[in-house]
Subunit: 209 residues, 8 copies
Amino acid sequence: MSDPFQYRRLNRDDAALLLVDHQSGLISLVQDFSPGEFKNNVLATAACGDYFNLPTILTTSFEDGPNGPLVPELKETFPNAPYIARPGNINAWDNEDFVNAVKATGKKQLIIAGVVTEVCVAFPALSALEEGYDVFVVTDASGTFNEVTREAAWHRMQQAGVQLMSWFAMACELHRDWRNDIEGLGQLFSNHIPNYRNLMTSYFAKASG
Amino acid sequence: MSDPFQYRRLNRDDAALLLVDHQSGLISLVQDFSPGEFKNNVLATAACGDYFNLPTILTTSFEDGPNGPLVPELKETFPNAPYIARPGNINAWDNEDFVNAVKATGKKQLIIAGVVTEVCVAFPALSALEEGYDVFVVTDASGTFNEVTREAAWHRMQQAGVQLMSWFAMACELHRDWRNDIEGLGQLFSNHIPNYRNLMTSYFAKASG
Amino acid sequence: MSDPFQYRRLNRDDAALLLVDHQSGLISLVQDFSPGEFKNNVLATAACGDYFNLPTILTTSFEDGPNGPLVPELKETFPNAPYIARPGNINAWDNEDFVNAVKATGKKQLIIAGVVTEVCVAFPALSALEEGYDVFVVTDASGTFNEVTREAAWHRMQQAGVQLMSWFAMACELHRDWRNDIEGLGQLFSNHIPNYRNLMTSYFAKASG
Amino acid sequence: MSDPFQYRRLNRDDAALLLVDHQSGLISLVQDFSPGEFKNNVLATAACGDYFNLPTILTTSFEDGPNGPLVPELKETFPNAPYIARPGNINAWDNEDFVNAVKATGKKQLIIAGVVTEVCVAFPALSALEEGYDVFVVTDASGTFNEVTREAAWHRMQQAGVQLMSWFAMACELHRDWRNDIEGLGQLFSNHIPNYRNLMTSYFAKASG
Amino acid sequence: MSDPFQYRRLNRDDAALLLVDHQSGLISLVQDFSPGEFKNNVLATAACGDYFNLPTILTTSFEDGPNGPLVPELKETFPNAPYIARPGNINAWDNEDFVNAVKATGKKQLIIAGVVTEVCVAFPALSALEEGYDVFVVTDASGTFNEVTREAAWHRMQQAGVQLMSWFAMACELHRDWRNDIEGLGQLFSNHIPNYRNLMTSYFAKASG
Amino acid sequence: MSDPFQYRRLNRDDAALLLVDHQSGLISLVQDFSPGEFKNNVLATAACGDYFNLPTILTTSFEDGPNGPLVPELKETFPNAPYIARPGNINAWDNEDFVNAVKATGKKQLIIAGVVTEVCVAFPALSALEEGYDVFVVTDASGTFNEVTREAAWHRMQQAGVQLMSWFAMACELHRDWRNDIEGLGQLFSNHIPNYRNLMTSYFAKASG
Amino acid sequence: MSDPFQYRRLNRDDAALLLVDHQSGLISLVQDFSPGEFKNNVLATAACGDYFNLPTILTTSFEDGPNGPLVPELKETFPNAPYIARPGNINAWDNEDFVNAVKATGKKQLIIAGVVTEVCVAFPALSALEEGYDVFVVTDASGTFNEVTREAAWHRMQQAGVQLMSWFAMACELHRDWRNDIEGLGQLFSNHIPNYRNLMTSYFAKASG
Amino acid sequence: MSDPFQYRRLNRDDAALLLVDHQSGLISLVQDFSPGEFKNNVLATAACGDYFNLPTILTTSFEDGPNGPLVPELKETFPNAPYIARPGNINAWDNEDFVNAVKATGKKQLIIAGVVTEVCVAFPALSALEEGYDVFVVTDASGTFNEVTREAAWHRMQQAGVQLMSWFAMACELHRDWRNDIEGLGQLFSNHIPNYRNLMTSYFAKASG
């Protein structure tokens, strides 16, 4: 606590996005967000990866079994992303291909989201921290069985040094300045924040009125 | 309570849909649903109106002022629907054009959703009941300031004889039998119920596996 | 349930407002609303009484004791209202002066708010119903010890035929049509609904922009 | 709903109190109130029975088994009350001794509290209603497994015509007028409503200051 | 409300149990109960049907599709029950085989539980009421998307005259008197109410101590 | 985090108890606990101070004004405790008499509870930490305006090194071993933990059965 | 954790207040506080800035667009404050004018509040920490989309060393001693804490009684 | 925070499981989980101990008194585990036999669960940390009086360096790779995660379809 604090902030040139186990079966286990909110948060996170051109890695666990396939929207958003279908490792970081894919990005900031929070997110987050990466977890695009389970996972990750963020904070920290692209960011928010869209609807109605 | 109960159930040939004041400003006042859930419920309700070919009536209150314009998705879904921009009546039923539009549908079952629940929904619901209509309120496509306000509105409407339903119950009661169109209803659910979509994703992955 | 439903709706010419025991000590017992929300709801209800020129009656219980005096804002809003400091009757309707004051208004619709809900509101509400009045309770300007207590009180009142409303629904049902006075109603909402004020701020900024 | 409403209100000369199965084992099943709140509500209800001299009947189910004995405070408050240790009837009203004890009171208003709400309270409440009694349930001195279970029980009882009340509403409706005994009622509230006691502490400190 | 109330209570000789669409896919949509609680409630309801020898009818909707098969525990508990795999009717009462199976039981009291509450439970409940049956819904063995959806469904069913109960209330109302079988009922509770089991564990430890 | 952890645990010979501003007016501001729970927690904390013979210091702020007097139960429990009626210092540690009283105890472990949490508790807690004391806050005997306010206060205190505890944890850590006085501790728990009392009631009923 | 703790406490001579993006559009996005509570908290924070004569800086983001203008009450409270309408920087600390304005205050303690918490508050808070400032965030005058988002933001800021406070704690820590101005602080609390006002109303009624 | 982070992760060869005071009486005090959820979590934790062959130690406090005996399922799962019936030590680590049993396992990672969280879990957790063990608490198999009490306990343990986990995270971290035993882990999850079981039911129905 006594060391001078250094604000390790997300930088679009330094960051990679890791989407872990957003599979149709596993997502049906999530109950700490309503299904509609969770879906929106995951798609918004993916849209950020796409919009900011972040190197993105997809990984799944046992797609052929009850866990189900990766949700199709993620496949469609990142058709060329490395896709690691893990043969059994629960912690994605235990999978050599996955770690190699991460290293190949050459980025030192890792943004992680996944299902379920205390396993598929927390485990690789802690492993990556140990390797010296700066780790950011997108809390609202990561889901689990209930609020108690989530809180325990957050405590463990915070204790280790993970930075917990919402997808909106991630987007804003990456974008830095509206002037970099007003329309693009506005579109992103309009698509995924209904009340922001409402503000825009009211505004442009008036503006054109 | 002692009279024999008659199950007045929704019938796609007897029902009309009334969407009241889903305007960009007013919707930003809604806090008894998360914005994402509410948006989905409203769009799902509209999708049902479209899918079941229900005569649909749109109405707004002071579009040119702070209340803001009707959300554009509803305009796009029902380009040819009667559209009553009320000049000042708070209760839509106090507006002759609105009532005439309702009567012109020739339907006796009215499905109502709107913002805010205790005013824009409850007032015309009670007026229509008095006129002898069967009234169904889509509870989750109707929003208001907070849960306490909603509960009071529900109590008042139930007391009067309104039937309270979710959009999903409305859809199912209108459809009656999956065999009428398996694919269409499945698509509707897939679009608006994320976990139902997940079930389908898992199922068809396996089926094609 | 089988009788034709009659929509008994608030009419500004037929309604009187009864404010029961909003005293500084008793209000500190209220925990089913946050203190800030409750204060705003009570003042908004009073502002409606004033704005719509409703005959208003104030009553208190044991002002000189621990219950404390009527909150000063209500006295100031209604300096000429009948003010019944009850010498001991818990149910205001058991007090002859109070009933006489109600009768003197000549109104048949009684709007009641007070502290605490299950006693100071519910008791006179049930008594007035029995006397043939139409009774409307402003649910969010009536407070009590906790949510469980409130729900029991609401159930009992609904069962008897009381109409439960928020102050906003009351205001809208009384006003009927914005054209009766756009500015006045807008001011009322701006004063007591922060997000409505925000809509207006955005709107007029743009309009004058 | 169309019949003239009659306010059947509690009258200390017409009412009897029935305390059903407040046993040490069964109370440990209650989770819709915190244990401290529930204990206070039960003791406050008992204190009302004592204070208003209501004929009171105690009954238990299988005291010698896991359900445990009646909590000692109730025995101490009502040392001479009829005490029906039911040999097996779940619905106390199915026990002839219990019904006889009720009839022996000669009262037509029955106030019921017990554990658990949907069984030990709801069953005799519905039976007594059928026999023509006016039935009042003390909702906050009746506990059950969780809130969902409670709500279902309340719905069923309200539907049948039971009047749901808090112990505080019961006390106030029985007392009618503070002048009947200011000090006695004040003491009752001071003992069981901590914030009312605080009001009194502040008041008398000042008064004697 | 003015008619004399008749307590229509469950009677083991008059009641049949209808379990509607407890399928592995549909259950994964339920979010108004935690998955563990819901599973326990459904199995407890089934155990009651078995224990009280209630004629039981199983029905499913599209078992071969995403809805998934009936959960195996129910099949195992009722191997000889009529099993109606509906080819498409959403409301089970629209299926002739189902209604015939109900009629074949010769019972006039129908206990219904299912997934989801506002459709698979509410629709046949309302249809059966209209046919003159007494209808009891096991609220905690019936699940849906969220609490708001549940509340709307409960309101609609209560309004129609359905009696809402928990599985525990159902069990107790059917059993009537512990003396009918102390051990059997105790075992049922021990299996499905963990804290009741704890009471028994403590009691028998002491008894044998 | 890398230093070896030292478990600074409460020791009855090293600890003093500081009760800050439990005044009748201030307590009525507390809404993050129900009034009944909060009262019980404060009295249980005081009972521990008494039972473990902890040097105890009472302090108040402006007793003669709206804040009201110290609640009488605390005065009665600690008739001989130093009693610092602060003339104006908000942080009790800014009051020389208070600090002197603390120093006079010769203890290095300070247990603090008070109203409101983020001021009357947090301020002296942080001041004492700075002076090198080990500080323990009794979280459930410290109350404030709402849960959000409480959480911010807890975060700030935890960050500084305060140990957050419930009164029950405090009691157990001080007692160390039931054999030090089974009956005394049992009585303490029986008085303040209703369900523990129930366990004892069931146990001794059986034991004497 | 092992370093001696230093209580960095707010000092009115060392502190500046930064109000970030309290704009009419952005505030309508806030859902982790009720609108009424949030408005009161923001105005109370501003009133503290005014009352304690803190150098105050106002900043906004895109006032001319959907975000809307600064709420007028803030402009009115601080007519002469530096007002930085940022042309695009999301993190106010990225704006040179803003940082210069902060430096010009010559203060080392920065109190920050704004909308939304995880961006407009957290970003400059982390930047200022890095620059060596002591940073205090007014948690209840900072709002965001929902509770989950807020918690993540709080975790991130606490981890970095931000001190989280309510506006009431800020006011008390700045004031230090009631004797500095009893009336002024009392007025501040009376205006923004309804139950404190009630205490004062009761007190002065009695005092003058 | 500035030291390089080391991910101390659970390793099945390094870990022992300590189950503290899961006794029938004490468990009835738990109200921060529903009884059904808590039972499932405890049994799942025990099943993990068994499945991963972790050296397991059982301990109880005053089994012969009101606390009641260890729940029988734990005895049955670990018939040969060291079983320390503590004669009075509240902190199990104060009991020499218990510490010796822990040491005898030769493990350096201790997984602890128990009742109640802030005492029976937190005390030995802090003691073991001080002795240099890595400590993991199974948060959802540890219960207490209410959520506030739990949160305080979690804060204290996190502050000290305890790693907070759910039973599911524990299982996954121990298992590392599904390929170690797909069927075994699948069975464990199927038994204790109802929705995972549902996924498997749907999957295998289809697979065999």
